[in-house]
């Protein structure tokens, strides 16, 4: 035991073994008491600050709904909702300014919300109960880390007390954020991300504040793709999918809708993220000789897959490229080689003069055509326009009232004259398209029906060797 005592002394360095006099004991007890009092005081201060904050940042209208109980007669003049006391609307977001998802902030939802805020502020702000309120953004970098993202989102809601929040990036973050928003009674409209699994939670009534905007596998990309394949007379398909939530969901939904369209799935291969060689998988698919190859993978894996098909000179009649396939950047990498490839998305600048104008504005904002994606940006613009109109119609910044308008109202947006939510999912009819195809370097919507922006779907697609020549010919 003596040894142990010695060890402790040398380790801690400070422990001096002295017996304690009564006076000294009282001194230290007093010191401890004083520290408790100070701690208590600090606690009280925190509480006081909290109360003060609560009273100074009231977002909603200041109208009193209940009856007054004063003795004298009161006259109430009904003049409509009063505008909020504050002068601006603060919208917060925890976005991936750095980390693996940074590209999405740079070229997807990032430019969409910044451009929208610029446009709204240029027009003097949103009209809330007759008061023009500009928007101020408070954006934190979540470093593409879920823990950080959820903590910052909580900070925005609890400490910064922003009026509204924008969604974080990617499906997993969205799922987690939906719970945080729910716990704080904040509206959360999705940005990049979305999945079937959220629908089940929404149907259970667990996410009353969540609104899903971006389209995804069964909402309604795979159903539309199955219709297109049926129209083209495709009978067989081989699938490569990224071995994560996204890939698993897409391949499973494709199995359902391919079967309903009478299309046989010859193989269904899981590909680990970050794979460096897919040649064996492509060779196997080449032997199967399907009509359509589906690549439900992420941009790096999709690039590798296309590259490998080109190297092996494997030319299936149709190729559907997942995330990244809709970006001008990937089209440019292959210098026209992707002509004829189909992609998940989808919108085309051809759809209307407004869309064309927005496309040009976006190109300017993101610094060139290469940074434009033909899946999300138009949908994001539409969701933001819808959101702004919902706030104006609600004439308040009160989350519950704005959410109620969002659940029921129909608004005209850049994407559709009638934009609305059905069970908190953006209605399928509102999308500009679900599936696109690169034709002469231009994105075309190829959904069956009036949304199609081209006369003809390229099927079979040009060979990898033919396509660049076609693209060059069309531009010269």
């Amino acid at each position: 035991m003596a040894d142990e005592e010695t060890r402790e002394t040398t380790e801690e360095g400070l422990a001096e073994r002295k017996s304690l006099s009564r006076r000294e004991f009282l001194k230290y007890a007093g010191l401890a008491g004083a520290t408790v009092a100070v701690a208590g005081g600090l606690g009280g201060l925190v509480a006081a600050c909290k109360e003060e904050e609560t009273t100074t940042t009231t977002a909603g209208p200041t109208t009193t709904a209940g009856p007054t109980t004063t003795a004298g007669p009161t006259t109430t003049v009904v003049t409509g909702p009063e505008p909020p006391a504050k002068d601006k609307i603060v919208i917060g977001a925890a976005r991936p300014i750095s980390g693996v998802n940074a590209l999405f902030e740079q070229a997807h939802f990032g430019p969409a919300y910044k451009l929208w805020v610029e446009d709204v502020n240029a027009a003097g702000g949103l009209n809330v109960a007759g008061k023009k309120m500009p928007i101020e953004l408070k954006v934190y970098d979540d470093q593409s880390d879920l823990d950080t993202s959820m903590r910052l989102l909580t900070k925005l809601m609890e400490e910064d007390k922003v009026d509204f929040v924008f969604a974080p990036c990617s499906t997993a973050f969205l799922f987690a954020a939906a719970g945080v928003a729910n716990a704080h009674n904040y509206i959360l409209m999705s940005a990049e991300g979305g999945a079937t699994t959220l629908e089940t939670e929404m149907k259970k009534g667990k996410l009353p504040w969540f609104f899903q905007v971006l389209n995804y596998s069964n909402h309604a990309q795979m159903p539309v793709f199955a219709e297109i394949c049926k129209e083209l007379g495709a009978k067989t398909t081989s699938v490569m999918y990224i071995d994560d939530l996204h890939g698993i969901e897409y391949q499973s939904q494709w199995q359902v809708y391919a079967a309903s369209a009478g299309i046989e799935i010859l193989s269904n291969t899981a590909v680990p993220p970050g794979i460096k060689d897919v040649s064996s998988i492509i060779k196997k698919i080449q032997q199967e000789n399907p009509d359509i190859v589906c690549s439900f993978q992420y941009p790096p894996e999709n690039i590798l897959t296309i590259q490998t098909m080109m190297q092996l000179n494997y030319n299936p009649k149709g190729v559907l490229v997942g995330p990244g396939g809709s970006t001008q950047a990937i089209y440019d990498i292959f210098q026209g080689g992707m002509d004829g490839c189909m992609f998940e998305g989808a919108w085309s600048p051809k759809q209307s003069p407004e869309v064309q104008a927005y496309y040009e504005k976006l190109v300017k904002y993101v610094g060139g055509k290469a940074n434009v994606d033909f899946w999300g940006p138009l949908i994001y613009r539409a969701e933001l326009e819808f959101f702004g109109q919902a706030i104006e119609k609600a004439a308040t910044l009160d989350q519950a009232k704005v959410a109620e308008v969002m659940r029921t109202a129909h608004f005209k947006t850049i994407m559709s004259d009638d934009t609305f939510f059905t069970n908190q999912l953006l209605d399928v009819s509102c999308y500009a398209g679900q599936i696109g195809q690169w034709q002469n370097g231009f994105p075309q919507v190829i959904d069956p029906g009036p949304k199609r922006t081209t006369d003809k779907i390229w099927y079979p697609k040009p060979t990898w060797a033919e396509a660049p020549a076609l693209a060059t010919a069309s531009t010269t």
Partner: protein, 316 residues
């Protein structure tokens, strides 16, 4: 057993500890704001760092397996929270982490030095991929929704786990296992020859400290709504406790707690106030800390205290 003498320093330390605990216990009743989330986060890292320090500091074994046990806690919460009471879920998470750590320990703790570190790093990837494959082949999905708990519930649960971690750490350090770990760290062969069951000691302490990592994971998962293997087995969770322990100092158990709290707070402040310079400033702070505070914040504090004390006594 040696007598527990009431020295001046001990009374002051105990008084400070009591004040901190009282403050922590009252915090959620004082404010329901973001402070509760932030302090819970600090406590989370304190649990992970103290648990890491108890085994790694005396032995000199650099374990990077923290994320594996922490992530298992996530999955235990995803599977059991809701059907079972939260407290039971936390205990199950601890038991699962203990069993897995025991198995891993039996395999790895015969390794030493960089081999042990690389193996523990690989363990996280292994557990991650096992979970991925089980989900893919058995459930056909990725990720799970978690039954959530309130911020206050998670806060108190984390406080209890933190206290349990600190108590266990103190008991281990004061027990013969603590001495054995130090002997192993100084000269493993000599420790073995002096009669210490080296492998059993290492495995047992490694598994015991993993219990708290699993528990912390189970608590945090209930604040996340949704988890998937990428989220649960994030390698950052393995690296942060190492940095926090270095930052705070590993000489005793106060250092890791201070390191976790200060590190979390600095990170938070820089990230929200200087988002563009965050990485740069944080990097510089870390480099300076390693260069000028080899014994961490606590070591620096002790050094300054000795100087002040020495200065007072010098004239006499």
């Amino acid at each position: 057993m040696g007598k527990f003498a009431l020295t001046k320093n001990r009374i002051v330390s105990l008084a400070i500890l009591v004040v901190i605990l009282v403050f922590l216990a009252l915090l959620p009743t004082i404010t329901k704001g973001y402070l509760v989330t932030l302090v819970a986060d600090m406590m989370r890292y304190a649990v992970l760092t103290v648990a890491w320090v108890v085994f790694c500091a005396p032995t000199g074994y650099l374990s990077l397996a923290t994320a594996a046990f922490y992530g298992l806690g996530f999955y235990v919460a995803a599977v059991f929270n809701g059907p079972l009471p939260f407290a039971v879920v936390i205990i199950i998470a601890g038991v699962v982490a203990f069993i897995v750590a025991l198995l891993i320990g039996l395999l790895t703790l015969r390794l030493r030095g960089v081999y042990f570190t690389i193996f523990t790093f690989a363990v996280v990837l292994l557990v991650n991929n096992v979970v991925l494959e089980v989900e893919r082949l058995v459930t056909g999905t990725r990720g799970r929704f978690v039954e959530t708990e309130t911020a206050q519930t998670a806060f108190y649960a984390m406080l209890v786990v933190l206290i349990a971690t600190l108590l266990t750490a103190v008991l281990i350090r004061r027990s013969r296992y603590g001495l054995a770990l130090q002997s192993i760290g100084e000269y493993e062969e000599a420790a073995a020859h002096s009669g210490i069951n080296v492998v059993m000691t290492k495995v047992l302490v490694f598994a015991t400290t993993s219990v708290f990592m699993g528990m912390a994971g189970a608590i945090i998962a209930t604040r996340r709504t949704y988890i998937d293997p990428g989220i649960a087995f994030n390698m950052t969770t393995s690296f942060l406790p190492v940095l926090m322990a270095m930052f705070g100092g590993m000489g005793n158990l106060v250092g890791p707690v201070i390191g976790a709290a200060v590190f979390t707070y600095i990170g938070e402040t820089l990230l929200t106030r200087f988002p563009d310079l965050y990485m740069l400033i944080f990097g510089v702070v870390l480099i300076l800390a390693i260069l000028f505070m080899p014994a961490g914040i606590l070591g620096l504090g002790q050094q300054l205290w000795r100087k002040v004390k020495g200065g007072r006594r010098a004239p006499a």
